[in-house]
């Protein structure tokens, strides 16, 4: 068995690689809780072309996971309220029935979950966990599906895949398990892969391997990827565009190159500064962002980041800044009254070293 995929019916043709794949317009997702309504995603708009990679960055509780699950349409119906629109490959996701979504799930849009310890079924063999969706979405028979599963395991870098398909998840290491979840997600060659903190549960050395694997698979298959993470270092070298989220909103978005060359939001800068770097001398104190993310049930008036921002003014505390284009580049959007002076590159030069 070579490392090549047995099925190629899922690969997009030349004309299919053009144009928008995903368009999110003013998406609002909120949950009913005993304390009140949590506005986890509060007016997010974004666009993703075919084969593009978007990084969504933000700290815990910024709404990035809810955003990615909203795009999947995977949130619990009973407690979730949604408005706005998510159009994926011509299909509206907001308010769609499970029946409609099931034709997309796995086949056109797939997800790699944060923790491979919990996202694999402990009592089901790897083989069946991969072949499940192949049997569901393609016309493959059992033997073909098994051959594809073995080939997929080989592609995600699992040694002796023929033996490994017979294993249960507990017989694999953490990194191997995450490779398996990637193989499961890729089984039907989706157009869009959502990776929600795919490396958080893993060892640092394995993190880089998994991220590189995702990038190379993405280029091979011309698949769009949304990489959700709290670590700017992770998205720096592996994405085309970045959206920085805070308190359920996108506060800055532009191309990866421009973001690191000329970031406008103090929050983006603060996130970057709180990333540890190998070039720092040992025992260097990490720069933390003081305070906590705001309460999403009663968000403060004005800019949500103002209470923690060094350059906040009275205007920031009373008036919410709109997401507007930078004067120098209309594709660079940010929501800040007092953007950082131009050319603020932070410590970009050392970014390549982080995983």
């Amino acid at each position: 068995m070579s490392g090549e995929l047995v099925v190629d019916e899922g690969f997009p043709t030349e004309e299919e690689t053009q144009g928008l794949l995903l368009k999110v317009t003013d998406l609002k997702t909120s949950f009913a809780t005993p304390r009140g309504r949590v506005r986890a995603v509060d007016g997010v708009s974004l666009e993703l072309g075919r084969g593009e990679t978007l990084g969504i960055v933000g700290e815990s509780g910024s709404g990035k996971t809810v955003l990615s699950r909203s795009i999947m349409g995977l949130l619990p119906r009973r407690t979730t309220t949604q408005s706005g629109s998510i159009v994926f490959d011509g299909t509206e996701i907001v308010g769609a029935e499970d029946k409609t979504l099931r034709t997309l799930w796995g086949a056109k849009i797939a997800m790699v979950f944060q923790d491979p310890m919990t996202s694999l079924n402990p009592v089901v063999r790897i083989e069946r966990q991969i072949t499940e969706s192949l049997r569901l979405h393609t016309s493959m028979d059992k033997a073909e599906a098994k051959a594809t599963a073995i080939s997929l395991l080989g592609q995600v870098g699992i040694p002796s895949p023929t033996e490994r398909v017979r294993n249960y998840p507990h017989q694999l290491s953490g990194g191997m398990r995450q490779r398996v979840t990637i193989a499961i997600a890729l089984a039907c060659s989706p157009r869009l892969l959502l990776a929600d903190e795919p490396t958080t549960g893993l060892d640092v050395t394995v993190q880089a391997q998994i991220l590189d694997l995702l990038s190379s698979l993405q280029q091979e298959r011309h698949m769009a990827v949304i990489l959700v993470t709290h670590d700017l270092g992770v998205v720096a070298t592996r994405t085309d565009k970045i959206a920085v989220m805070y308190a359920g909103r996108i506060v800055e978005t532009t191309t990866t190159r421009r973001l690191f060359a000329d970031m406008a939001m103090p929050y983006t800068k603060a996130l970057l500064n709180s990333t540890p770097r190998i070039s720092d001398p040992s025992h260097t104190r990490l720069t933390a962002i003081d305070g906590r993310p705001p309460d999403l049930i009663n968000p403060p008036p004005g800019c949500a980041f103002a209470p923690r921002c060094e350059s906040a003014t009275d205007q920031c505390r009373t008036e919410a800044p709109p997401l507007r284009p930078a004067p120098s580049d209309p594709t660079h959007l940010f929501a800040c009254w007092n953007p950082l002076p131009g050319g603020t590159a932070g410590r970009v030069t050392t970014l390549e070293e982080s995983p």
Binding site: M111, F113, Q114, T118, S119, N121, V123, S133, L136, I184
Partner: protein, 294 residues
Amino acid sequence: MSDIAATVASAAPEAADDDGIVKKKKVGVFFWIFTGWVALVVLASILAPLLGLQDPNNANFDAINQGPTTAHLLGTDDLGRDILSRVIYGARVSLIVGFGAMSIGMIFGGTLGMVAAYRRGAVDSFVSAVSYVMLAFPALVAVIAIVAFWGHDIWKITIIVGIASIPLVYRVVRAATLSYATREFVTAAKSQGATDIRILTRELLPNVLPAIISFFLIGVASVIILEGALAFLGLSVQPPTASWGNMISESRTYLSQNPWLALFPSLAMFLFLIALNLIGDSLRQVLDVQDSKL
């Protein structure tokens, strides 16, 4: 059962020996002895007509209340009927009621429990409320009342006891499913396009199966005791049909003259129940490996 056997074999707890080589831990010799005993009882009762036994209902007044002899290995009762034959035929009643009633309980209670735990919401609230109401009735009294009105037919008893076991099975299966239904792998399966039925049968069922199997066996044991209690009260299958409960009940009168009469059906029941309980327990330990791992 071949699936389960494969799981037992591949998921058996592992213990490393001094060389660091992992060896599969065996389920233990008692497990196989008890499994052998259960298999023997089940086979004997199914094949009873082929075993060349004496007619269990054939009275022989020349040989009443005998102890074990070569002609009657376990002796005879007050009507001279062969006890070995009656114990084996009596096992049929206990097994049909035990396995039949628990199967009814599993099919309905188990399905409801899994669906309620997976769907939650109104379905769960309603079924759970009904199950609490049913559990609030003392089962034995309810069963006695219904049997007294409806009849003592073995199938009727099976159905009634089966219905009485539904809420119990429901609670156990619901609780077992609940702890898995919110795990990430369920969401992951959904994100791959799996339907609800697929998630229930292929993702959740393998996880709750160990708990279900051991509860099933322990449930069968409880139902056999319940049948014995009904028989003792004269509310199970009617004489002359033998059942373990019937035989124990009838032996009371002759306890001082012929203690063998009470001993053999009691012993058969006791050994069968203890075997079921221990098998259920061993299976649960062996199949639950992934929780105890590391």
